[in-house]
Symmetry: C2
DNA sequence: TCGCACATGTAACGTGTTACATGATTCA
DNA sequence: TGAATCATGTAACACGTTACATGTGCGA
């Protein structure tokens, strides 16, 4: 008896698009340009990625589009987020942080953080950052332990590469502590 | 007229496997465990990833295996790297660093660095690190500029997320400078 | 004898990559 | 008039994910 798994969950790219559309409607082309030019753009903005993703999001009923062809303008599909899209986005934002999110998908966590502004409560934001801090602190400790134990067995480059991991995670930890400050200091609830 | 592209280049995972096998023969299972347990393991060690990858590397003539079934031991395929495998690995290690390597694939650069020990010359290592430093420095500058220009338009979380990027890249830069020191201080040529 | 670690694989699926493809508008 | 930018899409391909599948050896 085979378990058939219907995979209709959005991908990270989908969430990134939802996060952008949350701020206001955009055309596929605009979305592509944002991914190509801004900092949060290691999500490839190639047409072969974006247009299928937009189709997917429409199929999932998370976005819809209107064709803008008003007088002498180029034909353009303007995509809007639907209430269900916002709901799905928010669910993603408040998902509890697991160890593996920190160790393997930290850029995803940053993407989540970047979209939180008006969508979740201050309590949820601080909970996110506190979890981030906890998991990061624990992971650094684990890496340090590893470093101390294996130091003798490792060659120079392996040792230095591990050192890089530790330093980068420490930078993330420092950042998160600052961010927690900034978020709690912020007046809005 | 269609251009048919024969895609027979190794993937990042393939290079990671080659890098491991460079140190000595391993079974598929061992490789999986390394990816699952060590720091350089956001490369999934699931069987559905590793075994096909090993097959691929054999097809590319970069590795070969011997079956070890000596007395009462479990059947096990021991994979060895071939000279051609080493050659391909080294070519990857010394590939010039482009801007996009730093902005989008920095973890790949660290993986490359981790495997360099006995495979390339000190000159090549320092060249790698100097390029790394240059591109990282430039990218940080670009991010800072972006930060200063867009600061007013961005909401708190976007601003903080961008800040994270800057801080993480700064940590990478500091690390690279230290690593350059460590590599040049190292006596072997 | 039960469960865990060791050990190797296959199949379905969906996504991202790359390349191809088309057409309008703007500006030098 | 030609190039660059705006704008949207499709098709082939291959990789990684997930789930399924099987079997051995060892220790409690």
């Amino acid at each position: 008896m085979k378990k058939i798994k219907l995979k209709n969950n959005p991908t990270v790219l989908d969430y990134a698009i939802l996060g952008l559309l949350q701020r206001g409607p955009l055309s596929g082309y605009r979305i592509r340009k944002i991914f190509e030019t801004t900092a949060l753009g290691h999500y490839s903005g190639s047409p072969g990625t974006i247009y299928p993703a937009l189709k997917r999001l429409q199929r999932l009923n998370l976005i819809h589009h209107m064709i803008r062809s008003n007088d002498s303008s180029r034909s353009q599909k303007l995509f809007h987020i639907k209430p269900k899209g916002t709901k799905v986005l928010v669910e993603w934002l408040v998902k509890p942080i697991e160890r593996e999110d920190v160790t393997k998908r930290i850029s995803q966590l940053l993407l989540r953080f970047a979209f939180m502004d008006n969508l979740i409560s201050k309590v949820q934001k601080t909970y996110f950052l506190k979890s981030f801090i906890k998991e990061t602190r624990d992971y650094i400790q684990q890496l340090e332990q590893n470093y101390n134990l294996e130091q003798e067995n490792m060659l120079l480059h392996g040792r230095l590469a591990l050192r890089n991991g530790i330093e980068v995670y420490k930078a993330n930890l420092r950042w998160a502590r600052n961010a927690l400050n900034a978020v709690t200091q912020n007046s809005k609830t």
